[in-house]
């Protein structure tokens, strides 16, 4: 079957199977930032936005994004680099494998929550697992990034 959707701002058409999972379609379309870390919705590595809402692309049928707007880190390169610099300054990207999904959710959080507290940040990002960093460096990066954002407002 065919699915039409907007991928990172571009109208896209893909020939898919009925049971093609969005994650696989996105990688086939060259969006390699989207990773699979588990098969059970627990890790958050496959996070993309569907109509701006952070979602686990491992658990969405590609057929369901018909007419929707899908955003991956490939479509947010400038923001990724901006926040990523804060992450790298802490050394908190480490192996980097969870970074794209994590950054997608951080950028969604920044849009959704005004001035989040530390506890709110932790809760919002609880579905993004990281095995390298112990999370503290990520939190330091977010804190500094939010401060920068507030400063530029």
């Amino acid at each position: 079957m065919e699915v039409k959707f907007i991928l990172n701002g571009k109208q896209t058409t893909a020939d898919i199977k009925e049971d093609t999972v969005l994650l696989d379609l996105l990688r086939a379309k060259g969006c390699y930032s989207v990773k699979c870390g588990c098969e059970t919705t627990n890790c958050g590595l496959c996070t993309v936005w569907i109509d701006g809402t952070p979602s686990l692309s491992c658990s969405v049928l590609a057929a369901r994004v018909e007419g929707k707007e899908v955003t991956t880190l490939e479509g947010l390169q400038e923001e990724a680099a901006e926040f990523g610099a804060f992450l790298a300054a802490e050394g908190a990207e480490q192996c980097g494998y969870c970074s794209p999904g994590f950054i997608m959710n951080v950028l969604a959080m920044v849009r959704e929550l005004e001035d989040p507290t530390l506890e709110e940040v932790k809760e919002y990002l609880a579905g993004n697992l990281c095995r390298c960093t112990g999370y503290m460096g990520q939190l330091r990066a977010i804190k500094k990034y939010l401060e920068m954002k507030r400063g530029t407002k």
């Binding site: 050394g91 960093t133 112990g134």
Partner: protein, 757 residues
């Protein structure tokens, strides 16, 4: 400008944070055959019959391999220097399957769907055998896991396949029984640590293809690029010269990728078909057929005199290596060698061990490598000893810890040339406000808040075994290529080694490009494990830089037409001390490309006669609900002596990450098997690694010593950091609840039943 001891961002950070395709599966050719493994449903069985004809008929199926198609030559998948202490007990596929999930057949097809359909059509008839699932019952059991005649142990590690023994041994110093008998206080306990999964975010994966020269090329997510070449040569029974191994970016390793897990399967498919092949493990496969931490049961006796001097430590470790012996003989050693030496005033020690085969998945290397298990036991016992004596456990340690300059008999007789353990204790105490908080206080809301302490040590490389080589060349325009054989697995060694090179060569980081590992071009390195890279490869970098600088000076002198003695090099230019004439490195770089016979290339190796231990202290603060036993980790404080901190932000994150993994081990993570040996912990849904809401607050400081044998005074940091959470949290929970949990993980339910007693 100096880069060592500054928080330089990782050289690969911009690519990683923008999600660039740099990992194995991102760069694999699109036409790779998809490789899948059919797995055993039985913990122990013999394959009586295996029918693949129907499966082979599935359109798109390229090949199906069974035990009949693989070389009958045993090998080990452990990434260790040859001759490996791990026994040669594996075949790529075996007629005997030894755990639920063991490989039965390899299927390669054009698509995943075809491969999966074919798997369903393979018919296997098993003779189901009695399994050995309890590791206490394994030694000298009538059921043998490895009865085969071509099983082989290359090193004298006390292995005997006819006794289900992967290794055994004993070492003693002084008369431990007499010393303990004379002690005023003796505690004795048995501590049980379970298998744990490294659970790196990128699962095991490899792709393979034949190159122009008919050689097998292997691109793999590995920590042991060079060992993979040897292991594959052994497994496939082909010359090493026919294999090339390349390591791209890796999504975490933690020791898991110090063992060959996926490599052999696509490799044999490519050898048989000539076609590129790829195997990406699912998370389930990574949970059930991988290489987790060795389950260990450690019995400890510790004794002290009336003045609180610890006189003797007696450790016996029973280690469960599972179906195969990867890292079995070596991990067990650290349970004694990296725990007993923390105490510098002992008159005697004994360390004995057995490592047994059982019918669960093979264990392997996991950060800490046996030290983690041993330290849970010894540090817990020392805490119990302090309580028995009625003194503060920090005070007890202050009296007994190993100090700088001391010889450590239980640590191969090495001397602690750098040791700030005393300062680590002091600093941790201050950060935790230990004196006010120890042992516990009632919060008045049904919860009691307790604190606990533990210390740890590790090594820095395997002395007289590990080998690191580095090569650097000068290119045109004078930029350097730094070639290393150590595998950056996210930890940042590509960056750290470039920092050291930049300092040695007096140049900017931008002037150095770092190449990852390719066995065809990189200089040999035993690999990124055993906390070796910063320490060992670091020295190799320094040595190489010195040699290269000499060559640059000589070349500069030649171009300036003066003698070597008359010139100096400041990183940018070679100049004549006499008359101030100079030639820039850029010009030298360009001139050597024409009419030149001296390669501006240097390569040096290093192997260390010692393995200087990093030290650390961890303190945990937990709340325990007095009615339910529920535990909340509030705060974790760590102070580390890793010698000079080469990159403060990377060292800090390594420490925080190691502690978080240690917290997972202490409180949440458990590999659980059914009575028939099926692994229940087969996903992140059932095997719970900590989320960011489960680690409390982790606070890290450094108290640096200066290691005279290390690069810029550095020791290692990668592994030591995982060792303190289990004993420190166990003690904090005890202080808050009165319950000593001696089998990990420490769950609310265990605490609850303890409180009920």
């Amino acid at each position: 400008m100096s880069f060592v001891n500054t928080a330089v961002p990782k050289v690969d950070a911009p690519a990683l944070v923008t999600g660039k395709p740099v990992y194995t599966d991102d760069i694999a050719p699109k036409d790779c055959l998809v490789v899948k493994i059919l797995r055993s449903p039985h913990a122990h069985a013999l394959i009586e019959e295996i029918q693949t004809e129907n499966a082979k008929k599935v359109p798109g199926v390229e090949c199906i391999l069974t035990y009949k198609d693989v070389p009958d030559k045993r090998f080990t998948m452990a990434g260790q220097t040859y001759p490996e202490p791990s026994p040669y007990d594996r075949l790529i596929l075996d007629q005997r399957v030894r755990f639920v999930g063991d490989a039965v057949a390899i299927v390669a097809a054009e698509t995943k769907e075809a491969a999966e359909r074919a798997m369903k059509l393979i018919k296997v008839k098993y003779e189901v055998l009695e399994p050995v699932l309890d590791f206490h019952q394994a030694k000298d059991n009538a059921v043998l896991i490895h009865p085969e005649e071509n099983w082989k142990s290359l090193c004298p590690v006390g292995a005997d396949n006819k006794r289900n023994l992967c290794a055994c041994g004993k070492e003693e110093h002084g008369d431990i029984d007499a010393v303990l008998d004379a002690c005023d206080y003796v505690v004795e306990g048995t501590y049980h640590t379970k298998a744990n999964q490294q659970a790196m975010m990128e699962t095991f994966r490899t792709y393979t293809y034949m190159d122009t020269y008919g050689r097998l090329n292997v691109v793999s997510s590995t920590q042991i690029t060079f060992h993979v070449r040897r292991i594959l040569a052994n497994a496939l029974d082909i010359p090493k010269s026919k294999i090339r191994v390349i390591k791209p970016r890796i999504g975490g390793g933690f020791g898991a990728k110090q063992t060959v897990v996926t490599e052999v399967y696509p490799a044999i498919v490519t050898m048989k078909t000539g076609k590129p092949a790829k195997l990406v493990y699912t998370r389930e496969e990574s949970q059930i057929a991988s290489t987790p931490r060795h389950e260990m049961e450690v019995k400890v006796r510790v004794g002290a005199d009336k003045d609180g001097i610890i006189k003797g430590i007696d450790v016996y470790t029973l280690s469960n290596t599972g179906a195969f012996g990867e890292h079995g003989p070596t991990t067990v050693g650290l349970s004694g060698h990296k725990s007993i030496p923390l105490y510098g005033k002992t008159e005697a020690f004994r360390f004995a061990y057995d490592v047994v085969y059982t019918n669960v998945m093979s264990a392997g290397a996991y950060r800490g490598y046996g030290a983690t298990q041993g330290l849970f036991a010894v540090e817990s016992a020392v805490n119990e000893l302090a309580e028995k004596m009625g003194i503060d456990p920090v005070a007890l340690r202050e009296k007994n810890i190993v100090t700088e300059g001391q010889v450590m008999p239980a640590y191969y007789g090495e001397t602690a040339n750098s040791c700030a353990l005393d300062r680590c204790l002091e600093k941790a105490k201050e950060m935790m406000h230990w004196d006010e908080k120890f042992p516990a206080r009632d919060l008045g809301n049904g919860k009691v808040r307790g604190v606990g302490v533990a210390m740890a040590m590790q090594g820095s490389s395997i002395s007289n075994v590990d080998n690191a080589s580095v090569a650097i060349k000068v290119n045109d325009d004078g930029f350097y290529s730094l070639m290393i054989g150590a595998s950056d697995m996210g930890t940042g060694c590509d960056t750290i080694l470039a920092q050291m090179a930049a300092d040695c060569l007096d140049c900017e980081m931008e002037n150095i490009i770092v190449s990852g590992v390719d066995t065809d071009v990189s200089p040999y390195d035993s690999g990124s494990y055993a906390s070796s890279t910063t320490y060992l490869t670091g020295i190799a970098v320094m040595k190489t830089c010195e040699t290269l600088k000499e060559k640059i000076l000589a070349k500069g002198a030649q171009y300036l037409e003066c003698s070597r003695e008359e010139v100096d090099f400041d990183g940018k230019k070679v100049f004549c001390l006499k008359d101030g004439r100079e030639i820039s490195l850029m010009e030298i770089g360009n001139r050597i490309m024409c009419n030149n016979e001296d390669a501006l290339f240097a390569s040096e190796s290093y192997s260390s006669p010692v393995s200087p231990p990093p030290f650390m202290v961890g303190m945990a603060e937990v709340d325990v609900d007095q009615e339910t036993g529920e535990i909340e980790l509030v705060d974790y404080v760590a102070v580390v002596d890793c010698g000079t901190v080469v990159n403060p932000s990377l060292a800090r994150v390594q420490t925080e990450g190691g502690i978080a993994q240690g917290i997972g081990m202490a409180l949440y993570e458990d590999v659980v098997y059914s009575e028939s040996g099926k692994n229940f912990s087969n996903s992140f849904m059932q095997y719970k690694i900590p989320s960011r809401q489960d680690v409390g607050t982790i606070r890290v400081e450094f108290e640096s010593s200066y290691e005279p044998t290390g690069p810029f005074g550095a020791k290692s940091i990668g592994e030591v950091v995982i060792n303190t959470p289990s004993p420190a949290i166990a003690q904090a929970v005890y202080n808050a609840s009165g319950v000593r949990v001696k089998e990990l993980p420490i769950t609310a339910e265990k605490v609850y039943w303890g409180m009920k007693k």
